[in-house]
Amino acid sequence: MNKLVAGGLAAIALSLLAGTANAESLRVALHGQAGIDAFTPTAERIEKNLGIDVEIVEYPAPDKDYMTKLLTELAAGNGPDLFSIPSAADVADMVAAGYLAPVGAELAAWPEYADFVDVAKQLAVSPDGETYVAPYILGIQQIYFRRDVLEKAGISTEQPKDWADLLARAKEIKEKTGSFGLLFPAGVSWGGGAFDEGFSHLIIGSSTPQLVTDDGKFDLTSQGVRDVFQFYKDLIDADLMPVDPLLGPEPWVIPKYEMFPSGELAATTCGSWCYIFDWGRESRNPIPDVTNVVGTWADPGQNGGEFVLANLGAPWAVNAKAANLELAKKALLEAGSVENQIETAARIGNIPASNAVQRDPRFQALTELVPIQAAANHGTYLKQATGMSVVSEGVARATEALLRKETDAAGAQQILVDHVRQTLGDEAVK
């Protein structure tokens, strides 16, 4: 009996010793299988270089659900140590909530950071002047169109000069091909995409191209905002944009993965990822010879000009309450390696922020992305401010009302203003 007790105690002692001998662990939150696949080699390198265990936690795939889970855990104080943030519009609010650890000093001291394009560094700086996210990947967005469909119908594929020209082109597509002429993501179901992949394309070329004033308020009552909603309304009223799929639970599936590949939709806003993830080699419904068949236009301005929308693609951040903050920050820098940037680009199609990738043959093989990366510094972007996620939600609600033909441009603008005022207070809106 004594032997049995002694044996049991020894087993307990051994297991305790084994437990204390284990390496430190780091919990990393990611969403989507492609992102996990891209990060897995980096996780293995972090484990090797830092002598720690990396636990990759797969969160729900749609961005909105991912953010809900992430924010709930961060609010409860049990969030992951390291995570990516799907929409850059959420960063300022997460900073205000105190969830993100400052990483500006670490990035500045990191030699590789010198190779990053300036626009990425600028996008990473928060309204308070500090940097809380690592800008490893950029989302470079334009309007993508089916060159083959337009050419076959004898429609010009030249860059549209202004909004009126873009609208006329969409009407011509509808008349000559019967296909929908243009899609700007809209509505509540699309989540942050209604703002990031829709509204932003137009507002940057409007008469009031920024939503944030110098004193950090939101300029939402401007003529530019109303004109953007009017553009949506014109598209919807003329039946140039597919509306029904946007009101469903997964609004991107039918237009992006079915209608565009089949030619039923001839033009849509999208990012470089569309050449690889949506319609390219990583797609479930690829378009053959996608880079020739699908062309790009820059976003035309309301009265002329060309804009290429740049934003941070799922920037990485460190939990301010990470169990081992220093370790998490070291892992953050490892995640910014050229290898991980190229791996992400190859699997998802986003643009690496480091110019060092241009010297890497693996990136040179991604011929669709090379010219876009080289031109990334010319991207235009929206200034960020605390409350931007509320503006993003307000835009989703306003465009939803337009999709349902419940309001006009002025009404949509009022929905946006009311939502922001009710949520952030009257003082938040100029």
Binding site: D93, A96, A97, V188, D244, G248, P249, T386, V390
Partner: protein, 295 residues
Amino acid sequence: MAFDAFQKRKERQLLWLLLPALVPLLILTIYPALYAVYLSMTNEALTGVAAAKPRFVGAANYLRLFSDGRFWNSLFVTFVFVVGSAIIGQFVLGFISAMALRRKIVGAPVFGAAILLPNAAPEVVAGFMWISMLAGGDHATLSKILVFFGLPYVDWLQTFPLFMVVMVNTWRGIGTAMILLTAGLAAVPAEVYEAARMDGANPRQMFMRITLPLMAPTIFLYMLISTVSTISVFGLVYALTRGGPGNKTEVISVYIYNQSFAAFQIGYGAAGAVVALVVSLALGIAYVRSLKVEV
């Protein structure tokens, strides 16, 4: 004196016996409900400044809620959803199934099992299963069946969203209704029917004058359970439509979720939850009072 002491001891014993149920009830139900009331009077949020420094806003969330058309729409949608699926759909079909099973018909066990089967699928699984049946225009299974017979396809969740949600919830709940109502039917003494038959009553008269009155307590109990549980249905609707298109299927539970976890306004969402709690309590009390009907 001795009797008083006995009574007190008995009361204390009862309290001890109730304690294992009371403690979880206090921790898991009463405390969260009271905390929700507190949250509803703050601007607590999941992100932004309010997440770091929430402040007391009094009744502001309630004032905003009552002036929010989308909130009233969610109450209306919930009313249609509860009446359509729980009170009409599940009850009527459950009652018919229970009556059918009571008769000695061929294949009754298979029929009963088939009706119970949907209960085996969790809400979200059932929701996703029906998405494949209904969503995606000509890609939906039901649409393919229509096309096979030469008919035009229908985008079910876009054209009849609320009706489809009501139908799916009815499909899922008939089994529960059938079990409860079968138990109620079994409790009606066979002698009463025999006496009625001897008096020359026809089946309709027996149903209206014997079955329904004697089933009244069971029916009211079922109504109470199904109404309150249907008000709180979330997973099925969220998986199926997320409250869309627009907010045509945004029942109160989805509205609360959307405000709390999609717009990240926990305080405002809590105000909606408190109102839903009050509505459920009021309905519960009304039903419980109705249970005391004379039969």
